[in-house]
């Protein structure tokens, strides 16, 4: 346990020489707190109540990226946090600025992504009077942030920001918010807020109890049908390497959740890829029939479990999580191991007496991979299949290329038909399922990793929600490729209408979508269009080669739906491979 907060560094002589601007106001302290935390980039939109903070940023070395909409600022910060592992920072003014952040913060909260939001607020003497652009931002965001603070003291506001930063990163990660009244940021301050510190009451566990670890290791070693279920927590804890070693040494098949994609290389023999609603058939067979599941850093979301009554009903569950409240929340843990995933996997590795003797299970798993391969048909004379486009981009990009997505059918195809090999290369909105995540997340990912290729798969519906972000990509000259898998519909809704609402396509078809390639050109980006298989290779090559933002308007088969599929609340083992199995 390391409950001790980091020590505040004393002002060094070096500082005095290079001479950072003296702290005169609360806003200066806010900026200094961010600098002390090592922040390099901020995503936001200017506005009345946040102006003092922006003014203080004028003299800072940090780069502010002005977004087209605050939702984009929050999503960009979220993606920045996923890709870099360091909290992304988003800024907005009071009232509408802050409420526009809400979708992004709710998304970060569901996915435990490290994000800090700084919001302007009306002056404290106006608070509560329904003043112009006033919203109770702390009240609005309480259910969707890990912690939030109303700053009421100019001298303490820098410390508030530091605390928010530390809390976003430490323990179970998540979004934090500091609401900054204008008089507080304009008010006098002089103290350097020092390095970020968490409150003394916040002491997340690090390692699990050794007795529990050895008990769990014994159970796993004796399993006949073991699996590892790797969640987003594996990536957050930087435990991918440890997981690979552990699974390979003990030859245990690895399933991932959607946020866990990239935690284990999908081209590995032991990889079963993603389980759940649109998971692979083999992952869902294995997750249903396993007798011992080592679940690491997952919260057993319903999109993964289906109905809990039929979720791994034969399995003893060993659950590793840093948040005690996740233990037995949705699925009972027989062996809870509360601690940091990286530390606990190391503990387990030491405690394992031997690999499970499970040769017939390993064979069975390989048989399922052969029985239920991820595949699709692609007749030449029909419209282009989206899966093919995803595969072609995968083939033409490096292993560490980052994929970001919007939300919908395209997201699932990007998940299923791209082979992820590295952590922090899959950036998506999982728990909240926020349409519009695609374009801003591509911006945030590219800012975080300028040397890695960024491909964003978006849907026509999702793209339309945040396509104003293209102006940002053009202004910042970001080399990102946005592939709109265009089926002229909110395709996932239409798929559900096909399956469960008698093909009544109420409000799901988008016959009026613009030409996205022309739209891209209007923004100053490059636009490409795909209508036939013949065009795919050339467009893939040119779009990737173009050194700047490009948009590929890929007209795909509107009749193509996402399979396999487990209906909501269904039994994972009974996944449907086509509509007639639903």
């Amino acid at each position: 346990m390391s409950g001790e907060p980091a020590q505040v560094p004393s002002d060094s002589d070096a500082d005095a020489e290079t001479g950072p601007k003296d702290i005169e106001t609360g806003a200066d302290a806010v900026v200094r707190a961010l600098e002390n935390a090592g922040v390099e980039h901020l995503f936001g939109v200017q506005g009345g109540a946040i102006m003092p903070v922006y003014d203080a940023l004028y003299d800072s070395e940090m780069t502010h990226i002005t977004m087209g909409h605050e939702q984009g600022a929050a999503h960009a910060a979220d993606a920045y946090g996923i890709v870099s592992g360091e909290p992304g920072v988003c800024m907005a003014t009071s009232g509408p600025g802050a409420t526009n952040l809400v979708t992004g913060l709710a998304d970060s909260n569901m996915d435990s992504d490290p994000v800090i939001a700084l919001t302007g607020q009306v002056s404290t003497d106006f608070v509560g009077s329904d003043a112009f652009q006033e919203t109770d931002t702390v009240g609005v965001t309480t259910p969707i942030t890990k912690a939030n603070f109303f700053a009421d003291d100019s001298e303490a506001v820098g410390t508030d920001v530091g605390t928010a930063f530390a809390l976003a990163k430490r323990g179970r990660q998540g979004p934090t918010l500091v609401d900054l009244p204008k008089d507080v940021t304009k008010g006098e301050a002089s103290e350097d807020p020092g390095e970020p510190q968490t409150p003394s009451t916040y002491n997340p566990p690090e390692t699990a109890e050794p007795e529990s670890v050895s008990e769990a290791a014994d159970v796993l070693a004796q399993a006949d049908k073991p699996v590892i279920l790797a969640g987003g927590g594996v990536i957050k804890a930087e435990a991918s390497e440890e997981l690979r070693e552990f699974a390979t040494e003990h030859e245990i098949p690895v399933i991932t959740t959607m946020p866990g994609i990239g935690a284990f290389p999908e081209d590995h023999d032991l990889a079963l890829e993603m389980a759940g609603m649109h998971g692979t058939g083999y992952a869902n067979m294995a997750i249903t029939l396993t007798d011992c599941m080592l679940a690491i850093g997952t919260r057993f979301d319903d999109r993964l479990t289906g109905g809990v009554e039929t979720f791994a009903p034969d399995a003893e569950v060993i659950h590793v999580d840093i948040d005690p409240a996740e233990i037995s929340k949705n699925v009972e843990a027989d062996y809870p191991l509360v601690g940091d995933a990286k530390a606990v996997v190391k503990q387990l590795s030491t405690a394992m007496p031997h690999a499970p003797e499970a040769d017939s299970w390993r064979e069975q798993v390989q048989e399922w991979k052969a029985e239920y391969p991820m595949d699709y048909s692609a007749p030449e004379d029909e419209p282009v299949k989206p899966q093919y486009i995803v595969e072609r981009f995968d083939e033409e990009t490096a292993d560490d290329a980052i994929v970001t997505t919007g939300v919908g059918q395209h997201q699932m195809w990007a998940c299923q038909y791209w082979t992820y090999k590295e952590p922090r290369t899959w950036v998506s909105s999982h728990g909240l399922g926020a349409m519009g995540y695609g374009v801003p997340s591509a911006i945030g990912a590219k800012i975080a990793a300028p040397d890695q290729e960024v491909v964003c798969f978006d849907g026509d519906g999702s793209f339309l929600m945040t396509c104003q972000g293209l102006s940002v990509a053009v202004r910042e000259d970001l080399d990102i490729t946005i592939v709109v898998l265009n089926n002229a519909a909110i395709g996932m809704v239409r798929q559900w209408q096909d399956a469960f609402f008698g093909e009544r396509h109420m409000a799901s078809e988008y016959p009026w979508v613009p030409d996205f390639d022309t739209l891209a050109e209007a923004f100053g980006a490059r636009g490409f269009r795909i209508d036939t298989y013949e065009e795919v290779d050339e467009v893939v090559e040119e779009a990737l080669a173009y050194d700047g933002p490009s948009v590929v308007d890929a007209h795909i088969d509107p009749g193509e739906n996402v399979y396999p599929m487990v209906p909501s609340g269904g039994d994972n083992g009974l996944f449907a491979l086509a509509e007639d199995q639903l």
Binding site: G139, T142, Y202, G281, L289, A315, M374, D375, Y388
Partner: protein, 210 residues
């Protein structure tokens, strides 16, 4: 290139759902592995949870919001300052199945100003205060009932009598029943406040939180 040959069957293939291997086990709706032959849901039970919290603005809103948003079945919630300046004690009575009680405690612990949470299971000292206003037509009878329940008369006039009763929950319920005959005009109940019995700790208070 993994485009399929045209002569192959459309879409994904594999055994039909009914041809696949099936597990023998079962879980209940609470995610707990159960005997496949027996129905086993946890029945709700009532319990008292005590939380020692830092006295910062909004802490009660955070706690009540948490209980509302996670749909915990809350019976009463009381809050008041403690002997330590800057700290308050919240007493919650909830009725939930076992997993819900467990989850409520864990979620409460996650609220930042909450220092410590404990379920009081060993017959805690629990008391509630009620103030009742009844019609004053039969003051003697009202007085008799008040004495029976060790209550006090707080206000008596020609038309109304207002009394206070303190005690455990069942005593208060009984007293309210007894006053029904006079016609109850208004009731204000505080909800339960509770401490663990004897030397047992209610919620941890170490030297850093006093």
């Amino acid at each position: 290139m993994s485009r399929r040959d045209e002569d192959r069957r459309q879409g994904l293939e594999g055994p039909e759902p009914e041809e696949r291997k099936r597990p023998v086990g079962r879980r209940n709706s609470q995610g707990i592995r159960v005997d496949p032959e027996v129905e086993a849901e946890h029945e709700p039970r009532r319990t008292i949870i005590s939380a020692y919290v830092e006295n910062e603005p909004g802490v009660l809103a955070r706690v009540s919001g948490l209980f509302h948003r996670r749909q915990f079945n809350i019976e009463s919630l009381t809050v008041g300052p403690t002997q330590n300046e800057g700290y308050s004690r919240i007493t919650l009575v909830i009725e939930e199945p076992e997993p819900g009680i467990d989850q409520a405690k864990k979620q409460l612990e996650k609220v930042l100003p909450v220092v410590h949470v404990r379920e009081l299971d060993n017959k805690p000292v629990a008391r509630e205060l009620v103030i009742l206003k009844v019609n004053g037509d039969e003051p003697d009878k009202v007085q008799a009932i008040t004495e029976m329940y060790d209550g006090q008369t707080l206000d008596a006039g020609p038309r109304t009598v207002t009394v206070q009763i303190t005690g455990d929950e069942s005593k208060i319920d009984d007293a309210i029943d007894a006053y029904e005959q006079f016609g109850i005009r208004e009731i204000a109940r505080t909800g339960q406040a509770a401490l663990a019995r004897g030397e047992e700790e209610t919620a941890r208070v170490d030297e850093t939180h006093t």
